[in-house]
Subunit: 349 residues, 4 copies
């Protein structure tokens, strides 16, 4: 019963096999191989336009380098108060931008509220050096708490971004999960709505280590080759990342894997909904499920072999918890089996 995170899973067999096939032979390193070019072309097709793609090793690297690409002195990036950027990257975004700030924006359900976004941006009069200067907006899709921005919600934020001439970044560590849940194409959920940069995650969804940073306007990435190398994220044998993406993106494998993870998430959520011993913290829509139960019961489940972790409650949900209760996050993945879910629901009771 592994619900600790989607990265407890290993690699999908098709991806593992494809990776093995690359073991032999010689190939230009540092992103210069034929395979690198082919996979980059796949991204062009995927996004239905010419994009600039950079492979990196971790989701944190993708996010941090996205902001580094659009960095400004005294820069401020607006993101949700509980964004992964703020809560889970140990200050990497600030470090890679030499101290640019992440300004927290409140909003329900893990999503930036456009009205609050405007309020925060207005605190920065243009050219006023004391406050620093806005440099980007970042949203997470699917969000950190398993919810989804609807296309029109992204559009509302993108409209502010455009008006303020701020690049719009999407942390897509679980981009695939969002796509299948919303039944959108990559283009429909990104640049067609005004998204400029996507951290395109694949590690959580079946790869070993494959993250891509995708710029919709290649010009925006003109310094990225140097930024990535300086960040120690230019891998020498890049074909090992490229080949994973090659298998991942072929025959819609990635979408099938995400669909499975989401289905397992919803199966788990449904089970919890009918439990007498736990309640849903909110309605999740992807492969992350959040529930509340008594602390004792959570510990008992862990003793019975269920793996999951407590989660810091969002600021807007602090009142949901009673004193003896705990908020839990349970994550499913491409590798989660129905039987695991059912077993968990069974012991939960």
């Amino acid at each position: 019963m592994f619900f600790g995170s989607d990265n407890w899973a290993g690699a999908h067999p098709v991806i593992a096999r494809r990776l093995s096939e690359e073991a032999d032979g010689f190939s230009a390193p540092y992103g210069a191989s034929e395979l690198d070019r082919q996979v980059e072309q796949k991204f062009n097709e995927l996004f239905e336009r010419e994009v600039a793609v950079f492979f990196v090793g971790t989701g944190t690297a993708a996010n941090a380098l996205a902001l580094a690409a659009v960095n400004r002195p005294g820069g401020v990036t607006f993101c949700h108060r509980e964004a992964h950027l703020i809560e889970d990257e140990c200050g990497a975004p600030e470090f890679f931008t030499h101290g640019a700030r992440l300004a927290p924006v409140d909003g329900e359900d893990g999503k930036i509220d456009p009205h609050n976004l405007m309020t925060e941006i207005k605190r920065f009069p243009p050219g006023f050096v004391h406050t620093g200067q806005p440099m980007a907006i970042s949203i997470t899709q699917a969000t950190e708490i398993g919810t989804l921005y609807r296309p029109e919600e992204i559009l509302a934020i993108a409209s502010i971004a455009k008006d303020k001439q701020l690049p719009l970044h999407m942390d897509g560590a679980r981009f695939a999960n969002a796509l299948v849940a919303l039944n959108c194409s990559p283009a429909e959920l990104s640049w067609k709505l005004g998204v400029d940069i996507v951290s395109f995650g694949a590690t959580k969804n079946g790869c070993w280590c494959a993250e891509a940073l995708v710029f919709m306007q290649p010009d925006m990435a003109k310094d990225l080759p140097f930024i990535r190398k300086r960040a120690a994220q230019l891998f020498s044998k890049t074909r090992f990342i490229a080949s994973q993406f090659d298998a991942y993106l072929t025959d819609d494998l990635w979408l099938s894997l995400a669909r499975h993870a989401n289905d397992m998430g919803q199966r788990l959520q449904n089970g919890i909904r009918s439990s007498r011993h736990a309640r849903l913290a909110w309605e999740a829509e992807t492969n992350e499920v959040f529930c509340i139960m008594e602390t004792d019961r959570a510990e008992s489940l862990q003793e019975q072999g269920a793996i999951f972790y407590p989660w810091n409650p969002p600021h807007s949900k602090l009142a949901l918890l009673e004193e003896n209760e705990v908020l839990l996050r349970l994550v499913t993945s491409f590798a989660t089996q129905e039987a695991q879910v059912d077993q968990f629901i069974d012991i939960l009771g």
Copy 2:
């Protein structure tokens, strides 16, 4: 009618004179002169203990280097959501700490609420690398909105700091104003309550350019000489800062100046309280006064020669303002004359 900020004033004549006296002769540069030693000794006496003192050129430098001295990778400093550190230093604290974060803590009246502080700190489980690690707590005294922490309020925060082994920094850009308003000695308002580092400002209160960074435990500052030099804040002719402090601290000049500034602030506040055309945003206790009036009226006052600026409303006060209203900050200083205050109240009506 100069209420733009206390730094619209120049220098007090006694300080200006003392500075001129240092023009002649030769003296060891870079903080090595006899006068530097004498003034450092004055700080020991002032704080009733042996402290480590570093002169720097701006309040932003003092604050940023205070945090740099206690910096940790992935570090997080807890401060009020509208602290000067966050709102007015263009990211300098993050820059000088290589990206350490300022975590905003909500609280009424410009002051950190200890309960909220605990809630925020609890989001950082010890040793958990994803969130980063707490590295300091910073409070501002007097606060950015003219209010004051009472000694027992500081004690409550210091008790959390001690429990979590976090250094407690005080941004004392207006430390003198706080001291006279609370009738405390420097020691009583700092280390006796658990404050470890004070940004001791003098520029706003009658100097040209004199800021000191004071460490109550000299050990905490062992890297500071290199940090300050690397920060381009080691002035060559330091005697020009030392001599200002020399005059500033002699015969309680600094406290007299702060008392005058506060008196003028209260006179201004009383005048506004009885106005039909403006209302106090909250009760200020020092030399910064905040009021709300119609935007048209504010502009009319400016046209009649009054200098002041609109202020970003604190997040907890967003509801105070009607649509056609504006929040204004008015600041008095050692140089403010009664007649200026009375004239302003008069034209306000």
Copy 3:
């Protein structure tokens, strides 16, 4: 005829196979798995002491984080004038140390001259803030130009390091090649000579992506978990790195691979030595060979399918080249076949 670099090779079949075996199942991420623990234990055995090991994704990351671990404000690391740190990492060491400097030390044959090292260190009087402060010494073994420090040469440098209380770092991107060439054990070539930190490279020698940062005194690495996470180098599915090391270090596979690479290097060097159309730039001892030939001839070889690159001449070797000549680097690897070498020598003539 692939002599571009050792990272043109892929992965050794044993390592590829071992990696595939890890595809299935669930495992604690972020370095917390049982396998991570086992492989860390292997490093203890390898180095014959308890070491602190951190897996990272690139050699640049290993080097840069090694220096970040011992970082000081205004810090200066002494390394050879043509060290990889200086010439090939796009400023990553400076970036990850917030600007600590790499001070170039001249020396013949790619090796720091201890006398020059002392001369450079003496430029930094203790406590003198203007110059900054020494923070580390870094050597490369095998060196960037295919030569080797003899144990007694390392000892001479380590003795200076110890005297000046500076940690001694070894960039071991080709550590295995050095070990087999010198017939030393890892302990004999590191801490027994006074080396404190080793960047232990495996990628160039048969892995896909496996680098380890090894601290001989675990205390020196106490901030490294946060430093690594902030650097975006904490991989979620770390078992994919651990498993490569597992295979790499089992049954001395790594030493066999390095021995083969060195043998191929020497075979290539011998061939060049007897050529009429090229001459050795200097005697290499490992898997990197440097020769000089006319630019036209180099281009002709490339047209005939040989892959190699020109190399920036060391400052001490600038006089070696005639105007129409070029310095070339040729690198062999675990995957280089004798036939490739012989074919190259054949067409070289």
Copy 4:
């Protein structure tokens, strides 16, 4: 006998007086006052073109922010091996540029040799991420060792800068001393030769604290307002810097002061030239004089009240010193009296 450095002097009476006159009254802070505008206009006239001027507090700040303005990821600035940037700023240039490197270029007499400069630049193939990328060239005028670049020497370097599209920075901590020694106007010694940015120092030459960063093409400085604020170098009461420059630049006071300093330097040099107990290390042309004597004698002079310091020998001059000898730097200033010089020569014998 104060020859420790030119910053052992205080402030010239005219400048001190002008500063005092600014003590009264109210004035817009943060560079927004009428006086700031007037002094900026003086710089336009001085340089015979529209320049962008930024006041900062230290020479290190001016130099570091000059490079920050033209910063690039993985950037490399070429400067003389013993430039102040490298030897005396505790890593500030690297810190403020987030780790951009200073590449040392050898050259006689404290001056970059254009041939060596080309050799170093050629090590950076365009677009090659591993080496990083050239971002600027910096020269010091007058140099750190009291010599001068002739206009045609600057032209040769500027021609390389132009060809490689690199901005050319001049560290002018002693710009005035160079101007009077070469009998050039500011324009003739800067942009007319191809210099893009000047660190225009005034502190060493009679001010208390007045440094200006001057950009010949204002576009190059478009981020500087935020960079300076983030660097904690935006002073609140900027009129205190502006007023010093106002007096400094009026009636050619600055040139008179520099001329006196140079004259004293030459008088000192002539005295040493005829001494039996010391010899000139090289011919200085401004107010810094370098001589070699026995260590015992140097100590004896210090005991007799002469203040001066030993100096790290330039790499190209290491052979000048016998074992028991020391290289000394002696600096004169606007405040040096003939009698001091003569007394020193007298006791030197």
